[in-house]
């Protein structure tokens, strides 16, 4: 009985409606794929997002924003000692 209820629940999402026995991952993929394909203004936005993420996470993070304490000290103990020194001098 429970599986029937679950089935009825899932049927309300065409995404989860078994059309030709596709597995759920393929259906999710198709949902996104169709969504992206039907986008108009969204394609340009995705380009902006990808460029932005590349600039933020690759260029800025790697070359301009190293973690100050992690890049200088190997352990938390050393980091704590350094900050303690900074706070008490």
């Amino acid at each position: 009985m429970r599986w029937k209820l679950n089935f009825i629940f899932l049927r309300s999402f065409p995404l989860f409606t078994p059309r030709v026995q596709e597995n759920v991952f393929i259906r999710i993929f198709r949902f996104y794929y169709d969504g992206f394909r039907s986008m108009t203004v969204g394609r340009r936005l995705w380009l902006i997002i990808l460029i932005k993420l590349f600039v933020f996470f690759i260029l800025l993070r790697l070359f301009f924003f190293p973690d100050f304490l992690k890049s200088r000290f190997d352990t938390d103990k050393e980091r704590g000692e350094y900050v303690l020194e900074q706070l008490t001098q």
């Binding site: 999402f13 169709d34 996470f57 304490l69 704590g80 008490t88």
Partner: protein, 521 residues
């Protein structure tokens, strides 16, 4: 080291953080408010089955998507800056920041990104009700994400629920719920999200006014104004209430900020509220350029006392009382706080030196002293004052704090009046004829952003010199890095974020000019 801090490094680091935060905040409030407006509009569609509501929702959803796409991840830059420019601070705050930010990341990722895709791609693929649920979940997810960031910010304004571990030099969370449900955090979240609602309502009303001016999309514009103005009135009332509550909290937890934003130098009973004021260009106190008296002011007698304490004759401390102290009012002087702070720092130094010298007896004694609740209450709570050598440095920039606060409050009342007028005109169907008002509605959009930015200026400039109230001054929080490097990244960010802002405006204006998809030729 702290004594020899390079002030240009501190200023460039602050400037960079402010630049990043302001640009990030260009995108956030519209996401917070517009997501809810979309949810209301789609609810109308589902309830009435009227396809026109669906078209209206889809039009605003496109603008929401543009804002979301361009704004997404702009906040992550601030986390980079914490690790690079503010390493002393990042270490000192310990896990207090880590927990809320991690929850925010998970919540933002799962709620927003999952349901955002369903919201955009799910039209005609899932049932109306499930689509509506996705839209509501995007709105709820966006606003709950903001909660965690604001909890972290509120902790900096009013640190609670933690204790300082002298061994690791970090603050450790003792009570997560005390941090989460700190009254300052709750009110900050309510006030900030409400400001986003108001901004989004102004945005929708302004764009709809443009359509009416151009004699286009009449139905979309009228319906949108009805929804936005109603939402705007409710949000504005809530904004004014939460702002009032926040200000009452500031009196207790950040009295210097309160004195600065109200321009109150000398404490008094029955203090008047300066409704409008222009500060003198000449410094009132030659030793402190942050103190400037009023050249012109319009004051409401006794009202500041009432606003702060609910009594017309209550005493409200001014900047000078907080610096010099006022024994009659049990206000201790900044000199006394500085002494206590220096003592706390000295004990911490003795503990550190004893550990380095393997003097375990002294080490354990000093550590026990630092962990003692009584010591924490009487001395360590003033730890940050131990870095201050001149009491004048404890005064924030009064003119900036005062003007930002008054711009924010003044515009807040204007928005309420604006929404009432817009709703009345929409109700009577006279909006299209009121071309002056329609132009004013368009110009109110930048004013909403100005008010929002002014609010953050009040919150962050008004609490200087503290990065963590009373515990860590801003200048002691910076990393010892090259100021030149911070300058380079400052300009780099200025270019990147300006490009993003231009892209946002251009793509959005193009989309607005095109109008809803269904009406295009």
């Amino acid at each position: 080291m702290i004594d020899s801090i390079d002030l240009s490094l501190v200023n460039w680091s602050r400037g960079q953080f402010a630049l990043t935060a302001y640009y990030h905040w260009l995108f956030v409030p519209l996401t917070l408010g517009l997501s809810l407006i979309l949810a209301f509009m789609e609810t109308m569609y589902v309830r009435t089955g009227d396809e026109k509501w669906k078209n209206i929702t889809k039009f605003w959803m496109t603008l929401f998507g543009i804002n979301f796409a361009i704004g997404v991840a702009t906040g992550i830059i601030m986390e980079f800056e914490f690790g690079t420019n503010w390493s002393n601070y990042s270490w000192f705050v310990g896990d207090i920041f880590g927990a809320p930010l991690a929850i925010e990341g998970i919540m933002a990722f799962f709620l927003e990104s999952t349901f955002l895709a369903v919201m955009f791609f799910g039209w005609n693929k899932i049932s109306r009700k499930w689509h509506l649920a996705s839209t509501w979940l995007v709105a709820i997810g966006a606003n709950l994400s903001a909660l965690w960031i604001l909890v972290a910010n509120a902790w900096m304004q009013h640190p609670v629920g933690m204790h300082f571990n002298p061994e690791t030099a970090r603050n450790e969370m003792l009570n997560f719920w005390e941090v989460l449900f700190s009254p300052v955090a709750v009110m900050k979240w309510l006030h900030t999200t409400a400001s986003g609602f108001v901004l989004a309502a102004v945005f929708v009303t302004g764009i709809s006014a443009w359509f009416l001016l151009k004699k286009r999309e009449n139905l979309l514009a009228r319906r949108s104004i009805m929804v936005a103005a109603t939402f705007g009135i409710l949000s504005s009332l809530f904004l004014i209430w939460s702002g009032d509550q926040s200000t009452r909290q500031i009196v207790h937890v950040q009295p210097m900020k309160f004195a600065a934003i109200e321009g109150l130098y000398h404490g008094q009973e029955g203090a008047g509220l300066v409704a409008i004021g222009v500060m003198s260009q000449t410094a009132d106190d030659p030793e402190n350029e942050n103190i400037k008296d009023f050249a012109v002011r319009v004051e409401i007698p006794n009202f500041l006392s009432y606003m702060a304490y609910g009594k017309f004759d209550a005493f409200v401390p001014g900047v000078i009382d907080l610096i010099n102290g006022n024994p009659e009012r049990n206000i201790i002087s900044s000199a006394e706080k500085m002494e206590k702070g220096k003592y706390a720092r000295e004990i911490l130094k003795e503990m550190k030196d004893a550990r380095a010298a393997d003097d375990f007896v002294t080490y354990e004694a000093r550590k026990a002293m630092l962990m003692d609740p009584e010591f924490q209450e009487n001395y360590f709570r003033y730890f940050g004052y131990g870095f201050i050598d001149d009491p004048g440095r404890l005064i924030p920039n009064v003119p900036i704090s005062f003007y930002s606060f008054h711009i924010m409050v003044g515009l807040g009342f204007w928005f309420l009046a604006f929404f009432i007028l817009a709703l009345l005109m929409a109700w009577r169907d006279t909006l299209a004829r009121r071309r002056g008002f329609l132009r004013l509605a368009i110009w109110t959009i930048p004013l909403a952003y100005l008010a929002s930015m002014a609010g953050w200026t009040v919150a962050e400039m008004g609490r200087q010199p503290w990065v963590i109230q009373d515990l860590l001054p801003t200048f002691a929080a910076v990393s010892q890095i090259d100021a030149g490097m911070v300058q380079v990244t400052f300009w780099l960010f200025a270019v990147i974020f300006t490009t993003l802002a231009i892209a946002e405006v251009r793509i959005m204006t193009r989309q607005i000019k095109l109008g809803p998809k269904e009406g295009r030729k």
